[in-house]
């Protein structure tokens, strides 16, 4: 056994641990590319949670009832929490919070493109919860078993909380669909706008996702983009039918042989345009983030000053 280990390179030993489903922890040896991939993926994920607060924050003051307002506040607070779990997980890999935020604010780091679409009506709060969080859950559940321990543990907490997000969104949709004609139309109109961008959340086609193979090999990713997209369509089409809504894709059709829904091609031109910064709200979202960060600078400084003052006083008293 000992002689066998001696001939294995560190990379091979690392891969053997991954293959045996042994989690990698912060102080363990890992290939640089594994570390970099994780920092990129986890920080992007954290940024998505942070920016994800903005489209919903838009509706907190205009929620139709106190109940809906309380729920929306709790949901947005959860998203801040999810961002914080994830930033902490990324920090265990050797990056800093300041560095990650700087990369977000400079536009170097990405976040989920879905948040570059505007939330125009109350039904959008339904669609964001039902569809967007539904897609997020499909992405996130497999990540609870991802190979990097701190990321997996953060995802377990995120997933526990995400389920409420999706259900409250579905309930908003259901309430609208059972309401007046105008309400149902509002629900359908929102679904029409959110359906395709949600399908884009799973990322480019497998054939155009060069990093997928390596990420699967490292067990960072457990399913490919196309696999998850198909799962999502299979999950959502019957739910839309239940609501009495129509998915805006004439190609959606049950395929008995595949035991899955066929569906149309995503508009990849639009996908890449939004990724590259030309979506409807890219500029607005980033500006809001930078503004919040800069306007909060005095609070961070004051808290530091207060802590230093107190520490100095305690040192004198001791």
């Amino acid at each position: 056994m000992e002689t066998l280990e001696k001939v294995l390179t560190p990379e091979e030993q690392f891969q053997a641990r991954i293959d045996a489903d042994i989690r990698i922890e912060p102080k363990d040896w890992m290939p640089d590319a594994y570390r970099k991939t994780l920092i990129r993926q986890i920080s992007q994920h954290a940024h998505s949670e942070l920016v994800g607060m903005l489209p919903e924050g838009n509706w907190i003051t205009r929620a139709p009832s106190l109940k809906r307002k309380s729920i929306l506040l709790a949901k947005v607070q959860d998203e801040a929490g999810h961002g914080l779990y994830l930033y902490s997980a990324a920090e265990t890999l050797g990056t800093t919070r300041d560095q990650m935020l700087a990369d977000l604010h400079s536009g170097k780091a990405k976040y989920s493109s879905i948040f570059n679409y505007p939330t125009l009506s109350w039904a959008d709060m339904g669609c964001v919860g039902w569809l967007v969080d539904g897609a997020a859950i499909l992405n996130q559940v497999p990540l609870c078993r991802t190979s990097y321990g701190p990321y997996a543990r953060a995802m377990v907490r995120v997933c526990k909380e995400e389920s409420f997000h999706q259900r409250q969104g579905f309930e908003i949709m259901q309430t609208l669909c059972e309401g007046a004609t105008a309400q149902k139309e509002m629900a359908q109109e929102a679904l029409n706008r959110w359906w395709w961008p949600t399908l884009m959340m799973f990322g480019p086609k497998d054939s155009e996702s060069p990093n997928t193979a390596q990420s699967m090999n490292w067990r960072i990713k457990r399913f490919t983009n196309d696999e998850l997209r198909q799962k999502f369509v299979d999950m959502m089409v019957p739910q839309a039918e239940f609501l009495g809504l129509t998915v805006p894709d004439p190609a959606v059709k049950w395929n008995e042989a595949r035991q899955a829904y066929d569906f149309g091609e995503v508009n990849w031109e639009e996908f890449w345009a939004v990724v590259k910064g030309n979506g409807m709200c890219n500029h607005e979202r980033l500006q809001a983030r930078v503004q919040a960060h800069e306007a909060g600078a005095w609070v961070r400084e004051a808290a530091n000053a207060h802590a230093a003052k107190r520490a100095a006083r305690e040192a004198v008293a001791a």
């Binding site: 922890e25 102080k27 363990d28 040896w29 709790a74 607070q77 959860d78 929490g81 914080l84 779990y85 902490s88 997980a89 920090e91 800093t96 919070r97 300041d98 701190p150 543990r153 953060a154 907490r157 909380e161 600078a297 961070r300 400084e301 808290a303 530091n304 000053a305 207060h306 802590a307 230093a308 003052k309 107190r310 520490a311 100095a312 006083r313 040192a315 004198v316």
Partner: protein
């Protein structure tokens, strides 16, 4: 009493608050368990932030925070040698001993 107060050491360049590790007791009778980390300017803020970040759904009845720099850990690279002394002592486990089937309550 007129003691001179020392001028406080305020480091304005230090924009990042220190990192704290958070431990939570989920209910009376259980031990505190590590749940993650967060940034805070001081211990009071760390406990309050830990409440908001890690116990939004009554996940805890008690919180400990420790500044991450104060944690000392074993080195994973030495794990094999470090934990080796326990590896060959199977007789420390009850299953090591054969007890006749007819013997009860053991």
């Amino acid at each position: 009493m007129t003691t001179k107060t020392p001028s406080p050491q305020i480091n304005m360049n230090q924009s990042e608050w220190p990192l704290w590790e958070v431990f939570i007791r989920s209910k009376q009778g259980l031990d505190h368990k590590h749940v993650g980390s967060l940034h805070a300017a001081d211990a009071t803020m760390a406990v309050q932030n830990a409440r908001d970040v890690y116990t939004r759904r009554l996940e805890g009845v008690s919180i400990w925070v420790v500044e991450s720099t104060h944690i000392h850990a074993s080195n994973p690279d030495d794990s094999e040698a470090f934990f080796d002394p326990a590896a060959d002592k199977v007789y420390r486990h009850p299953t090591f001993y054969d007890v006749p089937d007819s013997i009860k309550h053991m």
